[in-house]
Amino acid sequence: MSIAKEFSKGIIKENPVLRLLLGLCPVLGVTTTAMNGLGMGVASTFVLLCSNIVISLLRSVIPKKVRIPCFIVVIATFVTIVDMSMNAFLPDLHANLGLFIPLIVVNCMILGRAEAFASKNTLTYSISDGIGMGVGFTVALVLLGGMREILGAGAIFDYTFTPEAFEPFAVFASPAGAFIGLGFLLAGMNLLSKKLKLD
């Protein structure tokens, strides 16, 4: 077990979205553009990192029987911090992400890492696990967001690069496009993990 390994496993081998299928609601809900995906990814990474740190430090204090409510309170605290600061400093992004900001608290990826990793490992490992998983989550969000923005609006990060004659696929801007896009991304990931022999 090394710190670098704990960090890198979250990005491809145990990517929370594309391999473990955790936290799919925000992945589908906010990825109409790459920018929204990036904002959501960074916000979730912050919450994941902070909750991993606190839970790892408190792991010997928290009684086993009431651990889940304790984890949820820690996570909800950081979500409230993100919610209020984003509302103050980035009101546009906050409006775009809307309901999904308070819903970070029920993102199964964060509770899953608290339960499976941070409550059993030391601080350094928990930090690298948190950052790695967060980066993996962000990568998946930006991939899906970028794909939907390119196909559905002919732009990437609000920069239109397609010629005027390009007719965007309206379906990729609509909710159905999120499901279909993620379905193809997962199939691509299955192919990639087969080629890299991850299983």
Binding site: C25, L103, A187
Partner: protein, 191 residues
Amino acid sequence: MGEYLAILFGAIFIYNFVLTRFLGICPFLGVSKRVETSVGMSAAVVFVMVMASIITWLIQSYILEPYGLQYLRTIAFILVIASLVQFVEMVIQKVSPSLYEGLGVFLPLITTNCAVLGMAILNIQEQYNILQSIVHAIGAAIGFAIAMVILAGIRERLELATLSKYYKGASVALIAAGILSVAFQGFAGMM
């Protein structure tokens, strides 16, 4: 009366929680392999949602608002939902052990089902009164149940289909859900 019907059908069809609002995707994909378990899961969600809508509304109007504690909303709501789920779990374990086995890990996971918390927060954002909140919760839960049972039916058939191995499992289920979502978009014309 018309207003309540609009909220009810709006939540079931037009703003379907799973297919349009993307809430509750984890159980939607996780439990929808068999029709039977998906029906059991839906029943548990209906109960938790209606109870949660009542309790969170009372907390919001009688505790958080009078004392200016709105910033504690996320924490207060999630704790209420977590205890409710624990209660439902104990009841199902006593009443129907076979259903309890079938639902497995997804029963405690209703806590982290974003549909329940999302419904509670939407009720506050839309400034529904208590009756409207309950109607909205019923609509949301029925919408969730319909989407899940339909997808479970499709997935039972997909088991037998010849598919590329890369698309097996979650991948093809998501694509099927996407096509289902296109169908639900048609309901937007009802309003």
